[in-house]
Structures are given as C-alpha cells and as structure tokens.
C-alpha cells in the first residue's frame, strides 16, 4: 500500500463520480461542479505518476502540467458559469 496506489485509485473514483454527475445531473451548476471533479480526477493521475518513492524527488513536469490544467479549468468554469447566468436571465425575461 503506497500513496501512489491509494491516491491513484482515489483519482479514478473521483473521475468516475464526476463523469456520472456530468452525464446525469439536471441542475446546470451541478454539472459544472461534476466536470470540475473530473478534472481533479485527471490531476490525481498525473500527480501520482510524478510521485517517486521517498527520498526520490518527484518528476516536476506533471506538476507543471497539473498547474496548467487547473488554470485552464478555472477559465472554462468561469465561461460556463457566465453562460448559466446569462441563460437564467434570458429565461426569466422570456417568462416575465
């Protein structure tokens, strides 16, 4: 039982949970959240892949990739949320 194994499987599970949410959730906000969970799951895989048995130093490249991925994801999330806000307003205007 090493951390990479434990957290690797955690990552898979989180990815899977996010996938279920992304496909099944009805609420728009929840779907965004589910996608964010998927991205955390994917990040787990890379971080686990970078891990080396101490005292070995971890591989820095996947770390850089994950940081990039986090920024990319927050950008995408911001756009999705802006769309949700706009859509809600438009629907409200239509109903009013």
């Amino acid at each position: 039982m090493t951390p990479d194994l434990i957290y690797g499987l955690t990552g898979m599970a989180v990815f899977g949970i996010g996938l279920v949410g992304a496909l099944c959730a009805q609420d728009r906000l929840r779907r965004v959240l589910a996608l964010k969970l998927c991205s955390v799951g994917a990040a787990f895989v890379l971080v686990v892949g970078a891990w080396r048995e101490p005292p070995g130093a971890p591989d820095p490249v996947p770390h850089a990739l994950v940081i990039t991925g986090i920024v990319v994801m927050v950008s995408a999330t911001a756009v999705a949320l802006a769309l949700i806000r706009r859509l809600q307003t438009l629907e409200a205007e239509d109903d009013a």
Partner: protein
C-alpha cells in the same frame, strides 16, 4: 507494521471520495458548493502527501478558492433572478431512474476499466526526472516546477495564459448588456476585517511569486492570492469598476500574454529559437514574465469573478489592482 501514514492516506482518500459523492448528491446548492470547497482542500492535502506542494497550492488557491467564489457568485445571481421572477429552481423533469442507472453503470464500467489499466501501468515509470535534472542548470531558475513552467514548457504556459485571456473576453462577451443583479456584498464587520487583511494578502502574494524561482510558489499561485485582494475589494465595494477603467483593464488582461509572447519572440535570432532565453538573462527575463503574468492573472481572475464588462451603467466592471 502498518505505517500510520498509510492509515492517514486511506482515511484521506475515503474522505475525498465521500466528499465528491456528497457534493454531487446533496440537495441544497449552497451546501453542494461548500462540500466541494472542502473536497478541494482535501485533494490539495493529498497532493502535499504526494510531494506536490506547488500543485496543492495552485489547487487550493485557484481550483478551489477561485472556483468556489465563482460558483457562489453564480448561485447568488441565480437565486436573485429566481426570487425576482418566482421561477422555482430545476423546473425540468427528473431523469428516469433507468437512464440514471444505465449512465451510472456505464461510467462505473469506464472507471473500472481505467482502474484496471492504472493497476497495470508501471508504477513510478519512466519520467522526465533525469532530463529535467540535467537541464536545470541552464534554465535560469532553481525550482524545477518553475523551470518546467517558464522555460522547458514555456509555450504551454503561454497558451494557458491565452486560455485565461480567451475566458475573460468570452465572459465579457456573454454578459454584455446583462441587467445587473446586485453584486454580493459583505457586511460592515467583514468590511473592516477585509481592510485589515488586504495588505497581508498582497504581501503573501508577492512573496509567493518571488519564491517561485526557488521554492513552491510562482506566478499562478501568487496571481490567485492577489486576485483574492481584488475579490475582497469588489465585495467590500472598496472598488467599484467604472466604464472609464475599461481601457486599463484591457491592458492588464493582455499584459501577461503580450509580454510573454514578445519576450519569446525577441530572444529568437543569433542561432537561438523562440523561447530560448540567453543564459545570462534567463533569470531576469523569467522574473519579468512572471511578474507581468501575475498581474494579468490577478486582474483576470478578479474580472472573471465580477463578470460584466463595465459599460455605461454605473455598476459592472472590474478591478485593476
């Protein structure tokens, strides 16, 4: 012989999975976001365990902090619109249970397949360790992750800042002319607190940026922390974006991308290719890029939080810290 750390790892992993499930299944949307934030912090903790402090920092600051703030703001907006028009949330018909189960089974299969594939993969397989170690002396920085981000794979990082730029343009585009839901604001007490905390955060952010060259930290984490300053300014109404600030804001958005790209291009020539910083100036150039990118990231994240482009209306706009 059970290592107590293994027990900790197992508990943390279980907690992460439980939080993920809980945040998706809890009914109340506010609780959902709170659970998600806790989930993000737990994940960051896990990554610290996996000796990835940079990633943990970025996830805590951006992946959880900024994302959480964005989600809360959106929830605030949705509730405001719902309250005004009396639409009940989630008016759509619930998904049939069969579909849900089929989807879940499908995703479960995929996950299972991935898990099997993961177990079959070589653990601690070949990586870039040796290559990075060999190239570090020529990178101009001491911290390997910073070296990768701003030198070895600087192109990726540039494009990542471009993604951020695209996001803010898209958000301005999407929210243009949107009638203004009142921005979430803080109470009096919190305002006072925020004014106290602000200078501290600025210091921390700058520090993170500075140490990025040698220790965990760097432009993105620093930018995120500085963005928190912007968020606080917006929330406390200490700063209200005005239309005439748009020009500055646009400049601040593109500052990082522009500097980064220009430097990348200018160093080319005399046998060097783009992104190949001359060794003597590498550290200076990288710091210059980091500084500019940090400003852009901070301003952009704050703008993403604020949303609307400030137009002729008195409200709307963004921060230009």
């Amino acid at each position: 012989m059970t290592d107590p750390l293994v027990i900790f790892d197992l508990l943390l992993a279980l907690g992460i999975v439980a939080l993920a499930i809980a945040s998706l299944s809890v009914r109340d949307r506010f609780a959902m976001i709170v659970l998600f934030i806790v989930f993000g912090l737990f994940s960051a903790l896990a990554w610290v365990r996996l000796s990835a402090p940079d990633v943990a920092l970025a996830e805590a600051a951006i992946g959880t902090g900024v994302t959480g703030a964005l989600l809360l703001k959106t929830l605030h907006h949705l509730r405001f619109v719902e309250s005004r028009t009396a639409i009940t949330e989630a008016a759509c018909a619930p998904v049939p249970l069969g579909v849900l189960l089929a989807n879940a089974a499908f995703c479960g299969l995929i996950t299972l397949g991935l898990a099997v594939a993961f177990l079959g993969a070589p653990s601690a397989g070949p990586g870039f360790d040796a290559l990075v170690a060999e190239a570090m002396p020529a990178s101009g920085v001491d911290h390997p992750v910073t070296g990768v981000l701003l030198n070895f794979r600087a192109y990726d990082t540039l494009m990542e800042v471009v993604v951020l730029l695209a996001a803010v343009i898209a958000v301005w585009q999407i929210e243009r002319g949107l009638s203004d839901a009142p921005a979430p604001a803080m109470g009096e007490v919190w305002q006072g607190f925020a004014r106290l905390v602000l200078p501290a955060i600025v210091v921390i952010g700058t520090y993170l940026l500075w140490v990025g060259a040698e220790a965990p930290g760097g432009a993105f984490q620093g930018g995120a922390v500085l963005a928190a300053v912007g968020l606080l300014l917006l929330l406390t109404r200490a700063y209200v974006p005005r239309p005439e600030h748009r020009g500055i804001a646009r400049g601040a958005f593109v500052l990082g991308t522009g500097t980064f790209a220009l430097v990348a291009l200018m160093v080319a020539g005399g046998g060097r290719v783009a992104f190949e910083y001359p060794l003597d100036h590498a550290k200076t150039l990288i710091l210059l890029i980091e500084g500019m990118v940090t400003i852009s990231i901070a301003v952009t994240l704050a703008a993403l939080f604020h949303g609307r482009e400030p137009v002729a209306l008195p409200k709307g706009g963004r921060d230009d810290t």
